[in-house]
């Protein structure tokens, strides 16, 4: 009898342990795909405030680099302004016409907390729902793609960065035009992988990799990186492509969140595509 009670005592502890362990693991698994409560992410009010204070202290360390990056971007934008173009044909005048309509809007923000060495790296931003950030929006920096919004709170939001296992951004290899999905193997924060392109076309080293803009989250043509190496996968007609990211994620600070004004329209029309029967059943 005493042995039985002792056994039960031990079993009770194990049950309690298993109960807590199941809570922790199920939180981890569900939050990886979709976070239910934002108080368990670093977008909650307390950690957001704490990281804002920390960021206020440390943001000046890379200030001159950040400034020259912004200046470079300004130069490239300024060169496209009408004032810096020489008019060859005096007949044409620029009018505000109905040919073009604004599709993408950009919200500026700053990264206040980030990691690059984990398996799944998330960045905390100092802008949130109040500024118009919604789950699923794209994020980029002057040098390249950063990720997608994973979770938001009133004043902060979390980016699922390209340094995550299943980021799956549609990319295109220029100038060949092959498309594929961007992945990350979890080791080196400067290298990424592309899966999908079939191996019937040769891909030269140093080819540019840009976003393809198919899913409507990113506009077409944002820089992602350059092709570094191409390997053949044994037994499959596919390339395994290693790319070097154009953005240095370890020192990333200033970012833009992309708001696609026509995303709803695109998703609406794409819903009318009949589902694949093999996948459906």
């Amino acid at each position: 009898m005493r042995k039985f009670i002792a056994f039960f005592e031990r079993f009770r502890v194990f049950l309690f342990f298993a109960f807590l362990q199941i809570i922790a693991l199920s939180l981890y698994v569900t939050f990886l795909s979709f976070p239910k409560f934002q108080f368990l992410t670093s977008a909650n009010a307390i950690s957001g405030q704490l990281y804002t204070w920390e960021h206020d202290l440390t943001k000046h360390f890379n200030l001159s680099d950040e400034n020259s990056k912004l200046q470079d971007e300004n130069i490239s934008l300024r060169s496209q302004l009408p004032q810096s173009l020489f008019k060859l044909n005096t007949q044409t005048i620029k009018i505000n016409d109905s040919v073009y309509r604004q599709q993408y809007e950009y919200l500026p923000g700053e990264v206040i907390n980030s990691t690059v060495t984990k398996r799944n790296n998330y960045f905390t931003l100092n802008i949130g729902e109040k500024h118009g950030v919604r789950i699923g929006m794209g994020v980029f920096s002057p040098c390249g793609v950063v990720g997608k919004i994973h979770s938001t709170s009133e004043h902060y939001s979390i980016v699922k960065s390209v340094l995550t296992k299943d980021i799956d951004i549609d990319v295109r290899i220029e100038p060949i035009g092959l498309t594929g999905l961007l992945k990350w193997d979890g080791r080196n924060p400067t290298r990424g992988n592309i899966v999908g392109p079939s191996n019937d076309l040769k891909i030269p080293r140093g080819s540019k990799v840009i976003t393809s803009g198919e899913s409507g989250i990113f506009p077409k043509g944002l820089m992602v990186g350059t092709v570094d190496a191409v390997y053949a996968i044994e037994g499959e007609a596919l390339w395994d492509i290693v790319i070097t990211y154009s953005e240095e994620y370890r020192t990333l600070q200033r970012i833009y969140v992309i708001k696609n004004l026509m995303l709803e329209e695109q998703q609406e029309i794409e819903k009318s595509i009949p589902e694949d029967k093999e996948e459906g059943k």
Partner: protein, 171 residues
């Protein structure tokens, strides 16, 4: 009362140190410095198993909330808290443990501390990287992560132990 105050002070201290200092140190090569297992290690010998588990879960989930790991730290710290009494019993001396002593390097001797804290860190770190990476074909990467991180975590823990023990000793 003094004991409770000391534990809650350390809870806060380890949490803030992990979140603001050690989470920001990124060396690459799979090195993750985790010093908060030392908090579970330093709890008194006579603490109940349920409070041990709850403290482990609580500290883990607080660190998770600040580093976007959503329960990974909680799961591994819970694992370590569950194995603490088992490892302690395995390495116990003949006359058992003196509840007045603290399970630290200075009270229990270097050999005991290295063996016990080393095995607990091994359990914690192995579980952490196993769940985080979770792929059978990357077993070698999991093991590399575990061993490299243990060396760094252990050294950092010794450093912190010397700092906080001196402070509490002079009292």
């Amino acid at each position: 009362m003094n004991k409770v105050l000391k534990i809650s002070l350390r809870f806060f201290l380890f949490w803030i140190m992990q979140v603001l200092v050690f989470n920001q140190l990124e060396f690459g090569y799979g090195i993750h410095m985790m010093i908060y297992p030392l908090f579970i290690m330093l709890l008194p010998f006579d603490i109940g198993i349920f409070s041990l588990l709850l403290l482990g879960f609580g500290l883990g989930i607080l660190i998770d909330a600040f580093s976007d790991t959503f329960g990974l730290h909680a799961s591994s710290l819970l694992m370590m808290a569950y194995f603490r009494p088992i490892i302690f019993a395995f390495f116990s001396q003949r006359e058992g443990y003196d509840p007045l002593k603290e399970p630290s390097l200075f009270d229990m001797g270097t050999r005991w501390f290295v063996l016990v804290y080393g095995s607990l860190l091994l359990i914690h770190h192995f579980w952490f990287f196993l769940i985080e990476i979770f792929r059978i074909n990357e077993v070698l990467w999991i093991l590399q992560n575990t061993f490299v991180s243990i060396i760094f975590s252990f050294s950092a823990s010794i450093l912190i132990l010397t700092l906080i023990s001196k402070k509490f000793r002079s009292k």
